[in-house]
Amino acid sequence: MSIWEYANPVKFMRTSAAILPWVAVAAALTLATGLVWGFLAPEDYKQGATVKIMFLHVPAAMMAINIWVMMLVTSLIWLIRRHHVSALAARAAAPVGAVMTLIALVTGAIWGQPMWGTWWEWDPRLTSFLILFLFYLGYMALWSAIDNPDSAADLTGVLCLVGSVFALLSRYAVNFWNQGLHQGATISVAPGDRISSVYSYPLYLCMLGFFLLFVALLLVRTRTEIRRRRTAALLAREVRG
């Protein structure tokens, strides 16, 4: 029994079909509990009700980065071991990651307007997320531009590797740029060390919920991609035969 068995699409389809309902229900339950709990949490003495945006913002931001890392790993597996399920999983994950990035950016803007007095600030964190979003867009555009599925998987895999290096590089280069522009304007969105348990428990639950939601969406989307690949193969066979 090894993890590579799931590289077999049939095996993957069977297992994912068994897991999917459980993951989906678990995601719905944790998200519902976490979000309602977070909604009922007391208001912050400084931020007021806007502190509750955190329950969407932080998990989305966390997943946005983690999904890119997952795409990097699956791209590597595809490039090295040529498992089709892996490439399809990377393809399936990209739009979810892009939406997570967008959620993080939009909720951040909605929070920033009353708190910082601006919708957008060229802060290193915000800027690097915008760059990450651009990388997601480019990655998805390249997937949809190439007809041959194997070439598309290869090229997007290479792009994902190069993009990872440059996304990381940009993350720190942006730090440099902003310090050079106006020093001392470090505005951290991250929950500090001494966040009250009133907030942290629902936050952890929301993080778990977002993670489960991603797994469920990923399974659904990968299954769709596999089925699409199968119908394409069947159609091709019919045309030929």
């Binding site: 760059i131 651009l134 990388f135 867009l137 480019g138 555009a141 390249l142 531009a145 190439i146 070439s151 290869d154 090229l155 290479v158 792009l159 590797l161 190069v162 993009g163 440059f166 996304a167 590089l169 940009s170 280069a173 942006v174 440099f176 740029w177 050079g180």
Partner: protein, 218 residues
């Protein structure tokens, strides 16, 4: 490799080769900016480092599809792939040819454009130096983007979406070096960081670009 370089340079300098187009584009950008922001010298001087660097990026981007597209169309790319020269070497040479025809003229002409935009004289050496160290990375990254999109019919727009995010670190450090120079500060730190990026790009990107080309030629 030398023969390939000479061939690419000869093709680029011939009529219709597009030599100098990037430079003309750069000139147009520098002409348009004062119309957009007003002719006040101090405003122009403040934004000059950014404008010059963004202009250089765009001028470089415009000519990227020429790196492989023509050779792809007439089949010489397939010949190159079967030649004894490794693909990585061919990619590096093609990027070098692109740099000599687009990047180098920009570097040499940059002080003139700097004067147009009221860039302080103290920043001129930094401008030339940062462009000299940064534009090779732009050409090499561009060759990667061109290799990714070479088989596509309308790859130009897609290529800019893929390549421009990769330019961000170079742009940040390059413009920062010039900005520090303009403020009378020492721009060595961003310059050294940018040179590091350029060297890493020159060392690693030929392999990525060659891998992409091989997939496209399959």
């Amino acid at each position: 490799m030398i023969a390939l370089l000479m061939r690419d340079l000869r093709l680029a300098t011939r009529a219709g080769g597009g030599f100098g187009l990037g430079l003309s584009f750069f000139l147009i950008v520098c002409t348009l900016v004062p119309f957009g922001v007003g002719p006040q010298g101090d405003t122009l001087a403040r934004i000059a480092p950014g404008i010059l660097w963004v202009g250089a990026l765009l001028a470089c981007l415009l000519s990227l599809d020429r790196i492989f597209a023509l050779d792809w169309e007439d089949g010489s790319l397939d010949l190159l792939a079967t030649a004894p020269l490794p693909m990585e070497g061919a990619v590096a040479v093609k990027a070098a040819a692109h740099w000599i025809t687009t990047g180098l003229p920009l570097v040499l002409a940059a002080p003139v454009f700097g004067v147009l935009l009221h860039l302080p004289a103290a920043a001129q050496p930094w401008l030339v130096g940062s462009l000299l160290l940064g534009t090779p990375a732009l050409s090499m990254l561009g060759a990667f983007g061109a290799a990714l999109t070479v088989g596509l019919r309308r790859g130009g727009l897609l290529m800019s979406l893929l390549v421009l995010p990769l330019y961000i670190p170079t742009l940040i450090f390059g413009a920062e070096a010039v900005r520090r120079g303009a403020a009378g500060l020492d721009g060595t730190t961003p310059m050294v960081l940018m040179a590091g990026i350029t060297l890493a790009v020159l060392a690693a990107m030929p392999f990525a670009a060659a891998a992409a080309l091989r997939v496209n030629l399959r």
